[in-house]
C-alpha cells in the first residue's frame, strides 16, 4: 500500500516539492482567499477533494484519452467535480460560499490541477495518483493556512472569528494593521515564507 514511491508521492509535496513554494502553481487562489482562516480552510479542503478525485478519474481513463484532446477532457472532468463541490458548499455552508465567490469556480483553472494531471496522473496508476493528489492538496492547504493565520491575526486581531488579541492591548495603544487585509500583503507574506523555506533548504535557491 505505502511503498517508497507512494510515500514520496504523498509526502514530498508537503515541503521539498511544495506546489506553491517550489512549483509556483495555484498562486491566484492562495492570495485571494487568505484574508481570514475559515475561507482558507474551506478552500484547502475543496482543492484536496477535487485534486484527489480528478487524479483518480484521469488515471483510470489515461489509456483511452487521445492526446490531441486531452486538455479538454481534463477540463471537463475537473469542471464536473468543481460543480459538485460548489453545490455542496451552497447547500451546507452558504456564508463561506458567498465569501469565496468566484474562487471556487476558479479551482478549474488552478494550475496545480492541470499541472498534476499532466505530470503525474497521465503516467501513473490510480492509487499513487490518489496519494499524489492528497499530498499536493495538503501542501497547498498548509501554505494557505499559514498565510491566512498571519493575515487574520495581524489584520483583524482574530483567529477563526474569535478575538485573540486581548482588549487591554488596544487600551494601551495597539492597533490592527489594516494593510494586512489588503491584497498586496498576501504576496509579501508568501515571499517571506519562500525566504524562510529557501534559507532552510539551500538546494532550492536560484542563481
Amino acid at each position: 500500500m505505502l511503498n517508497k514511491k507512494n510515500k514520496e508521492a504523498l509526502f514530498n509535496p508537503l515541503s521539498k516539492d511544495n506546489p506553491v513554494l517550489v512549483q509556483i502553481l495555484g498562486i491566484c487562489s492562495t492570495l485571494a482567499v487568505t484574508v481570514s482562516l475559515e475561507p482558507a480552510i474551506v478552500m484547502g479542503i475543496s482543492v484536496i477533494c477535487v485534486l484527489a478525485f480528478s487524479n483518480v478519474i484521469i488515471s483510470l481513463i489515461r489509456n483511452t484519452i487521445p492526446t490531441t484532446i486531452r486538455i479538454i477532457v481534463q477540463l471537463v472532468v475537473v469542471a464536473a467535480l468543481v460543480i459538485i463541490v460548489q453545490q455542496v458548499l451552497i447547500a451546507y455552508n452558504y456564508e463561506v460560499s458567498k465569501q469565496l465567490s468566484v474562487f471556487i469556480g476558479l479551482i478549474i483553472t488552478n494550475c496545480i490541477l492541470m499541472g498534476r494531471l499532466e505530470a503525474f496522473a497521465l503516467n501513473n496508476k490510480p492509487w499513487p495518483s490518489f496519494l499524489d493528489g492528497i499530498g499536493n492538496g495538503l501542501g497547498y492547504t498548509i501554505i494557505l493556512v499559514i498565510v491566512a493565520f498571519f493575515r487574520e491575526l495581524l489584520g483583524s486581531g482574530t483567529l477563526l472569528g474569535y478575538q485573540v488579541i486581548p482588549q487591554w492591548c488596544y487600551d494601551h495603544g495597539y492597533e490592527n494593521n489594516g494593510l494586512m487585509i489588503l491584497p498586496p500583503m498576501a504576496l509579501i507574506t508568501v515571499a517571506c515564507i519562500i525566504w524562510v523555506h529557501r534559507a532552510r533548504n539551500t538546494e532550492l535557491q536560484e542563481n
Binding site: I24, I27, C28, A79, G105, P184, L187, R198
Partner: protein, 205 residues
C-alpha cells in the same frame, strides 16, 4: 461615458492581477523579458474580448433562471445556472483552439511569435475569472461586457509588461540568495499592487 468609466475602472482599480490575483501563474512564469510578456498580454486581451460577449449571451439567454423563456413560455422556470462553469470553460477552451487555428492559417508570423502562449491561455484564470465576474456584475448589454473584457485585458497587459521591465532591470542586483528569482518577484508584485491601490476611488464623469 458609462462605458469609459467602466473601462478605466477595470484597467486600474479592478485590475485582474493586483486586485484579484487572476492569471498569476503565467504572470510570474512569463515575465522574464518584455517582448514575450507583451505577446502574452496581447493574446490574453484578445481572448477576453472574444469570449466575453459569447459568454454574456450564453449566460443571458441559456443559463440564468428563466432565461429560456424566449423558447416557449413553458420553459420560464428552468434554471440552468449550475452549468455555468462547464459552459464557460468549454467556450474558452474551444475559442482558444479556434483562434489558434485561424492565426496559424492567416498570419503565420504572428503565430510564430505567440505560438506557445496560445494553448496556455485556456487555463489562464484571468479569462475564466473575467467570465465569472461578468456574471456577478450583471451588465446591461453585451457591449458593456465587451468593454469590461477589453479593459481587464489591457490592465493585465500593463501589469505583466511593467513587471517584466522591472525584472530586466534587477537581473544583476545583489539580492539575498533565498529571495532570488521567485521571492523577489512576489515582493515586487506586492509593491506594484500597493502603488496601483492609489487609483482607488477615481471616477470619471
Amino acid at each position: 461615458m458609462e462605458e469609459l468609466n467602466l473601462f478605466v475602472k477595470s484597467i486600474f482599480i479592478d485590475n485582474m492581477i493586483f486586485a484579484y490575483f487572476l492569471g498569476m501563474c503565467s504572470f510570474l512564469a512569463v515575465s522574464k523579458n518584455v517582448k514575450t510578456a507583451l505577446g502574452l498580454g496581447v493574446a490574453v486581451t484578445f481572448m477576453l474580448v472574444v469570449t466575453m460577449p459569447i459568454n454574456y449571451l450564453l449566460d443571458r439567454y441559456v443559463l440564468q433562471p428563466g432565461a429560456l423563456s424566449w423558447l416557449s413560455p413553458g420553459m420560464a422556470d428552468v434554471d440552468l445556472s449550475f452549468l455555468g462553469l462547464i459552459m464557460f470553460i468549454a467556450v474558452i477552451a474551444s475559442g482558444t483552439q479556434l483562434v489558434e487555428m485561424a492565426v496559424e492559417k492567416f498570419s503565420p508570423s504572428l503565430y510564430a511569435s505567440l505560438g506557445i502562449f496560445l494553448p496556455l491561455i485556456a487555463v489562464n484564470c484571468a479569462i475564466l475569472g473575467g467570465a465569472l465576474f461578468m456574471q456577478q456584475k450583471d451588465f446591461p448589454s453585451a457591449w458593456t461586457a465587451t468593454v469590461y473584457g477589453f479593459g481587464s485585458g489591457i490592465g493585465w497587459l500593463l501589469a505583466i509588461v511593467g513587471l517584466a521591465a522591472i525584472r530586466e532591470k534587477i537581473a544583476y542586483s545583489n539580492i539575498p540568495a533565498p529571495l532570488r528569482g521567485v521571492g523577489i518577484t512576489f515582493i515586487i508584485t506586492g509593491l506594484m499592487g500597493i502603488a496601483f491601490m492609489s487609483f482607488l476611488g477615481i471616477k470619471l464623469g
